[in-house]
Symmetry: C2
Subunit: 414 residues, 2 copies
C-alpha cells in the first residue's frame, strides 16, 4: 500500500541494495543449513566464560559508568591498550590517533561520509570487500579497479590506474575478503612507492591480520609506509589509515573495531560519528578492555588460529577430493575465506540455487566486483562450520557443480 | 603538519562541527564540575545489579549466539517485546515495522541517509534537538522552523510553513529536548490534520515519553494519526515515523533504540543500516530484552519518575530562589531538561565561561536553533546531578547571572 514516504526517498537510495551476505545470513539461521556463507567466526571459539567474568568485573568495578554515555572517541584505557598493541607491530601512535567504532563497517561508513563526494573514484581490488562498496555507494562513489592474483593486488597494473586520480586506495592486504589472498611484501613496497609518487593516500583494512595459520607475519602497509617516509626524509607521516576489529579475535556480536589515522583525520571522523551514533556502547568497550587486557586475547588468538587453520586444511582437502577438475581455488595462509573459480560457462548463482536445496550455502562472487564480473566465482567461509560439516558441505557442493558442469558438457571437455 | 588527507575531505564536512554537547561531556567528566550539561540519566538509577543478572542469564542461556553476528533488523524477541509494549499505547504493529538502532542518534542518521537530498528542507521546532540537526546537516539538509511556546510547536504558524514544501516535519512532542515543553493535545490534532492536508509526513522523536512526573499521559502523534486516518477512511496508515529508545529508561551506555515505521520504510532503513554498521550489538539487544521482560522495566521507570520528578522540583525551587528576576524558564511535566531565557542583552556563552570557573556547566541554547538565534537561552539538565548539587549549582549559576546582569545594568531596570 502506498505511504506518504514512497516518493520521498533520497537519490542515494537508488544505489543501496540489501547485501547478499546479510540476506544470506538470515537464510543460514536455519540450523540444518551448512553455511559457507557469512564471515562468521566459529561459535565454539567464543570465550563465553571469560566474557561472563569480564561483565561481572566491569559492573562491579565500573558500575554506573559502564552504562552511562561516553565520549565519541572511545574509552580511553581501551585506546591506550590498542596503542600498546600496535606498538608491538612497529607503529608508534597515541590514543589521539585512534577512534573506536561500532564495527569496521562503521569505520568504512564514516570514511565515506568524511571523504567521498558524489562521483569521486575509489581505487579498489577486483574483487573487493562488499561491505566497503555498500558503505561508499551511499555517498555516490565510483570505482577504479585493480585485479588481484595469488599475491594480492597486481601492482604492475596499479600505476596506470593511479593516473586516473582516485581519491584513495582501498586495500585488504592480509587474507583478503573475499579471496583469502595476501599482498606479497614486494608488492606492499611497490604500493607504498606508487601511492607516494602519485600523492594518493591508502585505506588499509586489516580484520584478519592476527589470524595467520602458516608463513611469516608480513608488516602491515601502515608500518611499511612510515618506514618508507622516514627513510626518504618525508616531513609528514599518515598516508595510510588503518582499520582493525575485535570481531574476529573476540566476538562480532559486540560490534567493536577501531581506526588508526592522523589526529586531524580522527577529529573529522569523530565529528561524523557524533552525528551517526554519538559513541560506541560504553559497556562493550569496557568489557572488551577487561577481556583483552592481561594477555587473554593473545592466548585466545592462538587457540583460534589452531581451530581455523585445521578447518581451512579440511576444506582444502575436501575440495581436492570432491570438486570437479576445471574448478580452481585459492589457498589462503590465514583469515576466514577462500575463493573458488568455476569454468566461465558456469554461474555461481545457479549453483547456489541447487546447493541451498541440498542444504549448503555460500556467497556468489559477483557482488564483490565493483564494476561487475565474476559470475563463475564464489566465496567459501571455512571458520564457521564444524570439520564434519565442512567435509559434508563441500561434498554436496562438489556434486552440484559436477551435475551442472556435466549438463553443460564441461566435465567431458576436461 | 600537513597530511595527504588534508585536501580530500568531502564537501559535507564543511557543515559538520563537533557538537557542543559532546565537547561539554568531555569537560564534565571532571568530578568537581556540577553539570547541568549533557542529557545524562542519573547514575544512581542505573539498574547495575539487574543488568549483571541479565548478562549472566544471557551468556548462560544464549551463549555463543549472544556474541555472534545478528540480522540488521534486530533481535526478533526484542522487536516482538517492543511491539507488545507499543500495543499498550494503542499502536498495533508487527516486528516488520520495527528496526533496532544503535541509539536514536543512529535512527536520525539513517533517516537522513534514506530521505534527505542536498537542499531538502526539513521542518523543525525552533529550538529543536541539536543531534538531529547534526545528523541531517551531513546530508545537506536546510531547515524551515516553527516557533514553540509552553504548549509546544505553534501550530498557528505551521500552515504557512508547510506551504514551503518541507520533506518532512520533525517534532519532539513530549518534554522536548531542549526546552522541556510538551505539545498540547489540541495541537497534536492540528499538526496531524495540517500534515495530512499538505501531504507532509512526520518524524516523531519520543525519547522521554515514559518519563512524565505530573499530568496525564498524552497519546503520541503516531497513535493519533492512525485514529485520524481510520476516522477519515484513509486507505493508508504510516504518515508518522516514531522513534524511541532504551537510553533514558534503562541505560544510554548500551546504545539501544528503535524506529517504528511502515514496513517498506523499515526495509530502506535496513539497507542503510547494513552499510552503516551491519547491525546493533547482539549482546546488548539480548541483555536489554532480558532486563526488560517480566515487567522489570515498568517498575524501574516508576522509580526513575520519582527520582527525576523530585530533582526537577528541586531545580525549579532553586531557580525561584537564586535566579535574578528578568530570567524566565519552562516548567516541564517530564523529561530531563528545562530551558531558561535571560534578557536579550545577556549572552549564555559568556555566562557559561564564568560558570565553568565556578564549576558549573550547562549547554548554551544557540546551537539548538536551526537558523540561528537564542544567544540568551540555555538548556539545564535536572536528572544527572544529586539534589544537593542541583541547589548548589543553581545558586552559583544565579550568582553568575546576577553579576553579569548587574554589570550590564539589567538588575536595576527590573
Amino acid at each position: 500500500m502506498e505511504t506518504p514516504w514512497d516518493h520521498r526517498y533520497a537519490m542515494r537510495t537508488q544505489r543501496m541494495a540489501s547485501s547478499a551476505i546479510r540476506e544470506l545470513l538470515k537464510l543460514t539461521e536455519k540450523p540444518d543449513i551448512i553455511s559457507f556463507g557469512g564471515g562468521l567466526p566459529a561459535p565454539d571459539v567464543f570465550p563465553v566464560e571469560d566474557f561472563k567474568a569480564a561483565c561481572m568485573c566491569v559492573l562491579d568495578q565500573w558500575g554506573p559508568q559502564a552504562l552511562q554515555y561516553g565520549t565519541t572517541e572511545g574509552f580511553l584505557p581501551l585506546r591506550e591498550m590498542i596503542a600498546r598493541h600496535t606498538a608491538r607491530y612497529g607503529l608508534q601512535i597515541t590514543p589521539d590517533n585512534i577512534l573506536i567504532t561500532s564495527g569496521s563497517q562503521q569505520a568504512l561508513d564514516l570514511i565515506g561520509k568524511v571523504f567521498i563526494n558524489r562521483g569521486d573514484h575509489i581505487l579498489v581490488e577486483d574483487p573487493t570487500y562488499l561491505g566497503a562498496l555498500q558503505a561508499w555507494n551511499a555517498y555516490g562513489a565510483e570505482y577504479v579497479t585493480v585485479p588481484i592474483d595469488d599475491n594480492g593486488m597486481n601492482t604492475d597494473v596499479l600505476e596506470d590506474k593511479l593516473r586516473t586520480g582516485p581519491k584513495f586506495i582501498y586495500v585488504l592486504p592480509n587474507f583478503q575478503n573475499p579471496t583469502g589472498v595476501t599482498l606479497a611484501l614486494e608488492r606492499r613496497h611497490k604500493l607504498i612507492e606508487l601511492a607516494d609518487r602519485y600523492g594518493i593516500p591508502i585505506i588499509e583494512d586489516d580484520p584478519y591480520g592476527q589470524l595467520r595459520y602458516e608463513g611469516e607475519h608480513l608488516p602491515s602497509v601502515v608500518v611499511l609506509d612510515n618506514q618508507f617516509r622516514e627513510n626518504n626524509g618525508h616531513p609528514y607521516r599518515g598516508n595510510v589509515i588503518y582499520l582493525s576489529t575485535f570481531s574476529k579475535t573476540l566476538a562480532p556480536g559486540i560490534r567493536l573495531a577501531w581506526v588508526v589515522a592522523p589526529a586531524e583525520v580522527i577529529r573529522k571522523l569523530v565529528q561524523a560519528k557524533q552525528g551517526a551514533d554519538l559513541h560506541t556502547a560504553t559497556f562493550n568497550q569496557i568489557v572488551a578492555y577487561e577481556v583483552a587486557r592481561g594477555g587473554f586475547l593473545d592466548r585466545h588468538v592462538w587457540m583460534i588460529r589452531r581451530v581455523y587453520g585445521e578447518r581451512r586444511d579440511i576444506m582444502l582437502d575436501a575440495m581436492e577430493e570432491y570438486f570437479p577438475s576445471g574448478v580452481q581455488w585459492t589457498r589462503p595462509h590465514g583469515g576466514l575465506f577462500l575463493w573458488a573459480t568455476m569454468p566461465p560457462e558456469m554461474k555461481s548463482a545457479e549453483v547456489l540455487k541447487t546447493a541451498i536445496e541440498q542444504k549448503v550455502a555460500f556467497v556468489p562472487g559477483e557482488p564483490f566486483y565493483a564494476l561487475g564480473g565474476g559470475h563463475n566465482t564464489m566465496r567459501l567461509n571455512f571458520s564457521n562450520a564444524t570439520p564434519e560439516k565442512i567435509r559434508l558441505g563441500i561434498q554436496r557442493l562438489g556434486n552440484v557443480m559436477k551435475e551442472q558442469m556435466a549438463a553443460k558438457g564441461l566435465l567431458q571437455k576436461i
